[in-house]
């Protein structure tokens, strides 16, 4: 693949420089940490103790405040990972591959959380821990996709090749996700007599809806925090001999 002929803005290529990224990410890191902690705590407390109970589901609906962010993040992280991989492949940016790699663990975590909280929520709502409902089943398949990418990344020892292989798999997986979702939903309606949805009805009063907004935003901030941290670690590992790093504040302690 040849280098792109139309020009990308300067900041785009700047981000590809490990030294620049390390510095910029380092500045952002503490802010995302504070934002994540604040938003998540506030949202969780509000959802747990202050929001009114759902008249149909009772108090178990409060699980929504952690289940929904996890589900949303599990999918958007996969997409982000594929985009980062694509950027790495097209513009041959090593930093992009590092960002993609940083997404794997946290994405799989959110998927697992979505699965388990979905199952636990199912017990008081439907009477069973697991049902082959469309959303849970699609999330299960998504988890397998993450597991595959994680395994592939660890199996290839050469970092640069691992980055490219993971990017290809992530892109193929992303293209397949809508197809998988569609087929599982279709299969589900074929076999289920009633249709269950795990998310609460959209016409929720504000006191119910706002904590959700907080936990979703907080989760995104947390994701950003972890990705920045992990990408910076990879930069340090891959640039160990570089002079800019060896003279950096974090190393010399100055």
């Amino acid at each position: 693949m040849t280098e792109s002929s139309w020009r990308m803005p300067r900041w785009f290529h700047q981000m590809g420089s490990p030294k620049w990224f390390y510095g910029f990410a380092g500045i952002l890191q503490p802010w995302f940490a504070i934002a994540a902690l604040g938003l998540l705590t506030w949202g969780a407390l509000w959802g747990l103790a202050f929001a009114p109970a759902d008249y149909q589901q009772g108090n178990s609906f409060r699980i929504m405040y952690v289940h929904v962010p996890a589900a949303i993040l599990s999918q958007s992280i996969f997409l982000g990972m594929a985009v980062a991989g694509a950027v790495g492949l097209v513009w041959k940016m090593k930093v992009a591959f590092m960002v993609a790699r940083s997404c794997i663990a946290i994405g799989a975590t959110f998927t697992a959380i979505a699965l388990v909280t979905g199952a636990i929520w199912g017990k008081p709502t439907w009477g069973a821990y697991w049902v082959w409902d469309a959303r849970l089943t699609s999330t299960l398949v998504l988890f397998f996709l993450y597991a595959g990418i994680m395994a592939l990344n660890q199996a290839i020892s050469e970092r640069h090749i691992a980055g490219k292989a993971t990017a290809i798999l992530a892109i193929v997986g992303t293209i397949n996700i809508p197809i998988i979702k569609y087929s599982v939903e279709w299969w589900n309606t074929l076999h289920q007599s009633s249709s269950f949805t795990l998310t609460a009805k959209p016409s929720m009063p504000a006191e119910m809806y706002l904590p959700l907004l907080l936990t979703v935003l907080g989760s995104y901030c947390f994701f950003a925090l972890v990705v920045l941290m992990r990408t910076r670690s990879q930069i340090v590992q891959s640039q160990s001999g570089a002079s800019w790093l060896m003279q950096h504040r974090d190393i010399t302690g100055a």
């Binding site: 398949v141 998504l142 397998f144 996709l145 597991a147 595959g148 395994a151 592939l152 199996a155 290839i156 090749i161 490219k164 292989a165 290809i168 798999l169 892109i171 193929v172 997986g173 293209i175 397949n176 197809i179 998988i180 569609y182 087929s183 599982v184 279709w186 299969w187 074929l190």
Partner: protein
């Protein structure tokens, strides 16, 4: 380029002919899984005929998976894969040729033997044409998607298990619609929608596989 692809097809078929085990194994595996299912569950005709569509499709998928690892491995091990990639032809043509051979060797026998399997699992005979048609469109799709995984794990230790893990999520839609089409036919319902979707998935796999597998092979 067609001559190049044809040369690869002939060469791979010749290699398979020298080791017929490679061709027999997936078939025997397929039959074994089908035979084990009633043994493990129940020989009751009513139960078997209900699940036959899904069981046959899952067994076909497993049989395809079994032979996928070898798709590129043998050529990679003796270095000929690198040489082939250096040829002045796009890598996707190499991928297509090899996938075609793989399907001939693993998918086609399954299709041909499926009426026999249908009888063993008490699938209503009116569903058999649909079964064969769905396998005809579906098994090439499975071979294509599997090639992406096989290309990614070429040269990686323990590739077989990893390959399975990588591809199974991609197989989910094909299994769902393949099995559902046969189940619908067994109940006498229309299958046009299913076939259209299966065909669409095949075309889609045909479009992305050669690119993805070709790029992966060059890594």
């Amino acid at each position: 380029m067609i001559r190049f692809m044809w040369a690869i097809v002939r060469r791979d078929l010749l290699l398979v002919a020298r080791q017929p085990a490679e061709m027999i194994n997936p078939l025997v595996f397929f039959l074994l899984v089908i035979a084990l299912f009633p043994l493990g569950v129940s020989p009751e005709a009513a139960l078997l005929s209900q699940t036959a569509a899904g069981v046959i499709w899952v067994a076909a998928m497993l049989a395809t998976l079994l032979s996928l690892e070898l798709l590129f491995k043998l050529d990679h091990d003796d270095g000929s894969l690198e040489q082939l990639l250096l040829a002045p032809y796009p890598s996707w043509s190499l991928v297509l040729a090899k996938v075609f051979v793989h399907w001939l060797v693993s998918g086609l026998p399954l299709i041909l033997i499926s009426p026999l399997i249908a009888t063993m699992l008490f699938l209503p005979s009116q569903a058999v044409p649909t079964l064969m048609l769905s396998l005809l469109i579906g098994t090439p799709t499975l071979s294509l998607l599997g090639a992406i995984g096989a290309a990614l794990v070429t040269g990686v230790r323990g590739g077989g298990m990893l390959l399975t893990l990588l591809i199974l999520p991609l197989y989910v839609p094909v299994i769902i619609f393949g099995a559902s089409s046969v189940a619908a036919a067994a109940q006498g319902m229309a299958i046009d929608g299913y076939m259209a979707l299966l065909a669409a998935m095949f075309v889609f796999a045909l479009m992305i596989t050669p690119w993805a597998a070709g790029s992966a092979l060059k890594l």
